[in-house]
Amino acid sequence: MNVFDIIGPVMIGPSSSHTAGAARIGGVARALLGAQPVRADIGLHGSFARTGRGHGTDKAIVAGLLGFAPDDTRLRNALDIAAEQGMQVEIHPVEIDGAHPNTALLHLETAGGRTLEVQGSSVGGGSIRITSIDGMEVQLTGERPTLIVVHQDMPGIIAAVTETVAGWQLNIGSFRLTRQSRGGTAVMALEMDGAVGQEVAAAVSALPHVMHVTLLQPV
């Protein structure tokens, strides 16, 4: 912890969890999609559903989807701005078994028809955890550059990816791997300590049995 964890974040009120954290969930989802969605279906769970309207949780998530920072004063008009920019937004409650009380489940679609499902929770003080991407379990904070590698589950892939990353003298701060089934599709999330460029993602992408790589910059 440092002094800016005490004095900060600079944010749009009223709540670091229900507003600032919600904006970051939207921001990370946008970054994962790699584009501004034209359609956003936003499911709110628990306290997000019950007190979200009073806390502006809906506006905050949409602000994040529009690429606004959590301290951008346009946040409070985000629903109108989304409408102006042609983003169709649907907001409704959802019940997600075992989810953190401040959780959102987003279904996004780009103009090109690409879709993405992201589940994230606001865990306090504006910090978040992205817990699932397209149904695959992850644990992302969005605080550090993160490589998300979707690949075939088979021997040697982790070594190949970490070796590639090491080639850029990059240190891995946290590593997590989950798979749907043995030999099926797996997803690796590497949170990095230093700055990570697109060339690193491209190199990992080029590895055999790697299906898709997303480089998530801090939000």
Binding site: V3, I6, V10, T19, R50, G52, G56, D71
Partner: protein, 297 residues
């Protein structure tokens, strides 16, 4: 530089021995920890201070209202009373109350604020510092530096207790903000490190047991007025400490007491909106109105 945020007494001893205000030690240490030039760290803090200062005017707009409509417009009333000379306690406390209400109401109305240490308690520390700048002619630079002293207090509380209402009740949130503000005021007024410690202890002791009971679960009632009470409490603690009145219980022990009280507090009184003011008939009626209108179900 070796500086750990585990004991306020140790930090204040270090300041005493260095013959410097605590803020200078904290800035130097944080620059090392963040691997940045002290100037950069100072400038970042100065930008936080500017956001705080910029919040007062929009917060005093008589037409300001929160999304729920529960709060807004009270800072304007307080400001009018101060300007008309209609206050009992004069422009220092009146000004502090106005600024605390303004920033807290701005937060509720989705304005831009700095969590200090939380969004729910964001009016207290800015109100204390801006009042010292504007009513007591403290330099802007000194006020920004005082934020480092306040942060050090916050870091010690975070390490040994907590800063979240959900964990420790309002004493942990507005109480910590008041303790941080009291430390900042004492440093700005030229008090000794010992006086800073006394002010922190007194501020915390005076709100021990304060519960977090937000009506309808929103950061509005009673939060906005507790920000006004918080800055008043900070000035009370600072005024006593500056007069040479010591705290019998040392600040680190007061912080631990706050943690134990928080641990003993019923979950109904820790931001769940199930107890305290949130469970009164009026609060329940408001909650039903607001949730009926506001929830997505």
């Amino acid at each position: 530089m070796q500086l750990e945020y585990t004991s306020l007494a140790a930090l204040l001893d270090a300041a005493e021995q260095a013959g410097k205000p605590l803020s200078e030690l904290v800035l130097a240490q944080q620059a090392e920890e963040l691997e940045q030039d002290p100037r950069q760290v100072y400038d970042r803090m100065a930008r936080c201070y500017q956001v705080m200062a910029d919040g007062v005017e929009p917060g005093c707009d008589p037409a300001l209202r929160s999304t729920s409509g529960l709060t807004g417009g009270n800072a304007a009333k307080m400001k009018a009373a101060v300007q008309a000379g209609r206050t009992l306690t004069g422009p220092v406390l009146g000004g502090a109350l106005t600024r605390a209400l303004a920033i807290s109401e701005l937060n509720a109305a989705m304005g831009r604020i700095v969590a200090a240490p939380t969004a729910g308690s964001c009016g207290i520390l800015p109100a204390a510092l801006l009042t010292m700048e504007q009513e007591k002619s403290c330099a802007r630079h000194a006020c920004v530096m005082a934020l480092f002293t306040a942060s050090a207090v916050g870091l010690v509380i975070a390490k040994n207790a907590c800063l979240a209402g959900a964990q420790g009740g309002c004493q942990a949130e507005c109480g910590s903000a008041a303790a941080m503000a009291a430390a900042a005021i004492v440093e700005l007024a030229g008090g000794s490190p010992k006086m800073v410690g006394d002010a922190v202890a007194i501020a915390l002791k005076n709100v021990l047991g304060l519960v977090c009971d937000p009506v309808a679960g929103l950061v509005e009632v009673p939060c906005v007025k507790r920000n006004a009470a918080g800055v008043a409490g900070a000035f009370v603690a600072a005024e006593l400490a500056l007069a040479g009145i010591g705290s019998v219980i040392p600040p680190d022990e007061a912080i631990l007491a706050m943690k134990r009280v928080g641990d003993a507090m019923s979950p109904a009184l820790k931001e769940t909106a199930l107890g305290g003011l949130a469970a009164t008939p009026t609060a329940c009626r408001l909650r039903d109105q607001l949730l009926g209108r506001d929830a997505w179900q």
